[in-house]
């Protein structure tokens, strides 16, 4: 095998990132330049290409803010304002994080409970399982505004309605994986437990729960990403109450493109950190069992 630089993973990743940034700057020049030319022509002013190129990265409310503009906005809204201020992105991220985590925990518990029921009760399996799958073919995020309105009418505002949506999105991967995982115990082990005359409860806590753990963790990574999506989308109809989703909405209402991009980048960062944390927990817990490769 040749080990030239072009086969190294980091080289490919680095060149992709550089490529994206270059394309980003070029696209910003083109899109903002066009916008600039349109405004200048409307004002009946003369313009030259050098003038447009020099101003394309500085206009307020650009069509596509260049990376350094987004970075400046991020810096401004993260480090330059007090954390409890409504203009601080940290404040909004915190709101989103709360409902994401609450929804994720609720969804994981619900998912595990449903899976345990399905594994232990044949009637539950044949009646519920098709609907668990069908529930995901419904674009549930469309119901987000309703859930928020309905729970708001019941005087439940704040984190809980958003968490319900996150919960709905995150229970499904957990249920599917746990049904598979709880059934994945080695047949030999199952038979051994049976010869010991183990009860169903003992069988669950001493065998099934452990054989399901690798499945559980890989589904939790999917679930927490889904919970974040649910939280962000649930914040759209609540309007000004705060959260990354409401930053997106207000940014799009007032044409504050830099604000949109900053919120988007923050959501991306939050998502990858959350998935990373779950992955870390997975590695720690599974390696205690000597299952380091999972």
């Amino acid at each position: 095998m040749s080990s030239t630089i072009s086969t190294k993973p980091w080289f490919a990743l680095l060149s992709f990132i550089i490529g994206i940034v270059v394309i980003w700057y070029l696209a910003a020049l083109l899109m903002n330049g066009k916008q600039l030319i349109n405004t200048l022509e409307r004002k009946k002013q003369d313009w030259t290409y050098t003038q447009v190129a020099s101003q394309a990265y500085q206009i307020p409310r650009p069509m596509l803010p260049a990376p350094h503009q987004v970075a400046a906005q991020l810096n401004k809204s993260v480090f330059q304002v007090a954390i409890d201020s409504k203009r601080s992105l940290i404040y909004h991220t915190g709101i989103t994080l709360q409902s994401t985590l609450l929804g994720f925990v609720l969804g994981a518990i619900l998912g595990i409970l449903i899976a345990v029921g399905i594994v232990h009760n044949r009637t539950l399996e044949s009646s519920l399982m098709p609907w668990v799958i069908a529930s995901q073919t419904i674009p549930i995020l469309a119901i987000a505004p309703i859930i928020v309105v309905v729970l708001g009418a019941l005087n439940m505002t704040g984190v809980f309605p958003k968490a319900v949506i996150s919960m709905y999105l995150s229970f499904f991967p957990v249920t599917i994986a746990m049904v598979k995982g709880l059934r994945s115990s080695d047949v030999m082990h199952m038979e051994l437990m049976r010869t010991y005359n183990a009860t169903q409860t003992q069988l669950f806590w001493k065998l099934r729960w452990f054989s399901a753990q690798p499945y559980l963790f890989s589904s939790l990574k999917v679930a927490i990403a889904a919970a974040l999506v649910g939280a962000v989308v649930a914040e759209l109809p609540t309007g000004a109450q705060g959260g990354l989703g409401s930053r997106l909405l207000s940014g799009s209402y007032y044409g504050q493109t830099e604000q949109i991009w900053a919120a988007l980048l923050m959501a991306a960062l939050l998502g990858s950190v959350l998935v990373f944390v779950v992955g870390l927990a997975e590695r720690v817990i599974l390696s205690q069992r000597g299952n380091a490769n999972a």
Binding site: S6, T7, K8, P9, F11, A12, L13, S15, F16, M31, M63, L64, R122, T123, S126, S127, L128, P130, W131, A134, Q136, T137, I138, P139, I140, L141, A142, I143, P145, I146, V149, V150, A153, L154, A225, L228, V229, V232, V233, L236, P237, L244, G245, L248, L249, G251, S252, G255, T257, I260, W261, A263, L264, A267, A268, G271, S272, L274, V275
Partner: protein
């Protein structure tokens, strides 16, 4: 004999309550709580029916799909009955939760409007974005399966993208591509590209080495290898992505419409009718979305069954 009598009785109680649920007057449980006994009895009957049916179906080794669908449909009917009778019986405000009956009525009454929304959101935005996103994901995966450089660069990017809420790009796309369906299609393209890419690539790489060696000894060209071997290994993975994307696409379109549309479209309908507290209509729109989502999923599953009849997961 006694058992079948009991089952008969359960069936009767359940159907009686089911019919009654649609003819209750508002607040009848508040006036005469004794009606609640019938509801509880109907629930117990439904559970009994499901248990019996499950045992019956399990005892038949090669039960048809029609027979297998009986238990889930009893479950669905139980939910419908519970929803309808609780909402009517306790006179729940229609703003909180409209009854099933009123949702169906407003669905039927507003068919032309809902059809126009469906056309705008599904037939234009979803289909265009779905086809573009899935096919480009497939093509790029095909290229990446041949190039280590592309794989190394794109796979981490794909994993990163799967962790972030991509629907967030909706306001940007609306700004770039205007209020009409093109902006929604653009959101869908971005949302569907990476699942398709990752799944297809995994499928293309799952090729059995023995098969590949065999084709190599036959002197097959790389195109022949793809058409005769790799493609079939990838198909189950491709179908997984197609099914996943069919729901994602609908979600993307509806959410993108929250950020601005011409005055038609399912997302637009939901957000305006919520504003007017006209919940019947909102739920009717969701009914349309649910039907569209599950029908497209079902069609894809059917197609998968037809094309993958040889695959162990289908047999």
């Amino acid at each position: 004999m006694r058992k079948s009598m009991l089952n008969m009785l359960a069936f009767l109680v359940f159907s009686l309550q089911f019919l009654l649920a649609f003819n209750l007057t508002d607040g009848s449980y508040l006036q005469s709580p004794s009606y609640l006994f019938l509801l509880v009895a109907a629930l117990i009957s439904a559970i009994r029916l499901m248990t019996e049916m499950t045992a019956y179906v399990d005892a038949k080794p090669n039960a048809g799909s029609g027979l297998k669908a009986v238990v889930p449909s009893i479950f669905a009917m139980m939910l419908v009955m519970l929803w309808q009778s609780l909402v009517l019986g306790f006179a729940v405000s229609p703003v909180l939760l409209p009854s099933i009956k009123s949702i169906v009525i407003s669905f039927v009454n507003n068919l032309p409007l809902l059809w126009a929304d469906f056309q705008q959101t599904y037939l234009k935005a979803v289909l265009a974005g779905y086809v573009l996103g899935c096919s480009s994901g497939f093509i790029v995966a095909q290229l990446a399966s041949k190039s280590l450089f592309l794989r190394n660069g794109l796979l981490p990017l794909g994993n990163f993208m799967s962790a972030i809420p991509i629907v967030g790009i909706a306001p940007i796309m609306v700004m770039w591509f205007g209020f009409d369906w093109q902006s929604k299609a653009a959101v869908i393209v971005v949302m569907t590209f990476f699942p398709m890419f990752i799944n297809t690539l995994a499928g293309l790489q799952s090729v059995d080495h023995l098969h590949q060696d065999l084709l190599h000894t036959y002197g097959a060209s790389s195109n022949q290898r793809f058409v005769k071997c790799q493609f079939f290994y990838a198909l189950p993975f491709v179908f997984n992505a197609l099914k996943l994307n069919s729901t994602l696409a609908l979600i993307g379109a509806i959410v993108a419409e929250f950020f601005g549309t011409p005055i038609v479209g399912m997302g637009f309908r939901i957000s305006t009718e919520v504003g007017r507290m006209n919940m019947d209509m909102v739920w009717a729109t969701i009914l349309v979305a649910a039907l569209a989502g599950s029908l497209s999923y079902g069609l894809l599953a059917l197609l998968e069954k037809r094309l993958l009849f040889w695959h162990p997961s289908v047999r």
